[in-house]
């Protein structure tokens, strides 16, 4: 497995380059992962999305769909795409230390 050093930690990665073990995640890791994705600063709205995704993943084992994300996190679709311009589901999951979402929607 590949590893990466971020925020002073050695992190194991899965085949998609996402964290293999989400227990290695913390907020500093998230900030550095975001910077790698071209997001220089994580705002309160970014955190709302990230925390909501982690919450759903802990309960259900997969990230929520975009539809559910916008309905339940309080961040609407337009804002979501502004927050994560290169594709919200995949990028937000990566920054949240989760595997790539499995769903199509």
């Amino acid at each position: 497995m590949e590893t990466m050093t971020l925020a002073g930690k050695t992190l194991t990665l899965d085949a998609d380059g996402n964290l293999a073990d989400r227990n290695q995640w913390n907020e500093d890791v998230a900030r550095e992962l975001a910077a790698q994705e071209g997001i220089p600063e994580l705002t309160a709205q970014h955190w709302a999305v990230i925390n909501y995704m982690r919450q759903v993943f802990d309960k259900e084992g997969d990230a929520p769909s975009i539809r559910r994300l916008t309905k339940e996190s309080g961040v609407d679709t337009k804002t979501l795409y502004q927050l994560f311009p290169k594709g919200p589901a995949k990028r937000a999951a990566k920054i949240a230390g989760l595997p790539k979402p499995k769903g199509c929607i």
């Binding site: 975009i66 539809r67 679709t77 795409y81 311009p85 594709g87 589901a89 199509c104 929607i105």
Partner: protein, 159 residues
């Protein structure tokens, strides 16, 4: 020849030409999926596909139960009154279960995601449609020439 196999797709233009429920959803799912991956996307509705962006019809699209062997219903049974409505309501329930929105809501979501939505000029003229017939998400009525211009540098997917 350049190595295209490893080049990620950056832009897609999706044509929706059918007006049945099963004819419309794949294009919408592909457009939404493209935006989710950060791929630039536009949707172009033509012929009966226009029903998906006509306000009065978009949420009443039906599954075709005749001439559709994969439905596994004999054609004569599929033609019975109510069969199409029955199959449609069954499919809509399954669609909702996997969190795919109804057509109207889906179009709003896709448009908010930054996908442009166009109607085909020739069809609009042929069916004598007016701008007020369309949902608010429609960015314009364009000719096939304009469609190709807008699709420059991308992949075109016909559904």
């Amino acid at each position: 020849m350049p190595d295209t196999a490893s080049q990620p797709i950056e832009k897609v233009s999706i044509v929706v030409s059918h007006g049945s429920l099963e004819g419309v959803y794949p294009g919408l799912i592909m457009a939404n999926g493209a935006r989710m991956e950060g791929i630039e996307a536009s949707l172009f509705f033509t012929f009966f596909g226009l029903d998906a962006i006509i306000k009065k019809r978009m949420n009443n699209l039906k599954v075709a139960t005749v001439g559709n062997p994969a439905m596994h219903i004999p054609t004569l049974l599929g033609a019975l009154p109510g069969m199409s409505s029955f199959a449609t309501s069954m499919m809509k329930k399954e669609i909702e279960k996997i969190d795919i929105p109804p057509v109207g809501e889906f179009l709003t979501m896709i448009h908010d995601a930054g996908c442009e939505i166009y109607a085909c000029r020739a069809t609009v003229d042929m069916f004598h449609l007016k701008p007020e017939d369309f949902c608010a998400e429609v960015d314009g009525v364009i000719s096939v020439g304009q469609f190709y211009e807008k699709s420059a540098g991308g992949q075109i997917i016909f559904t």
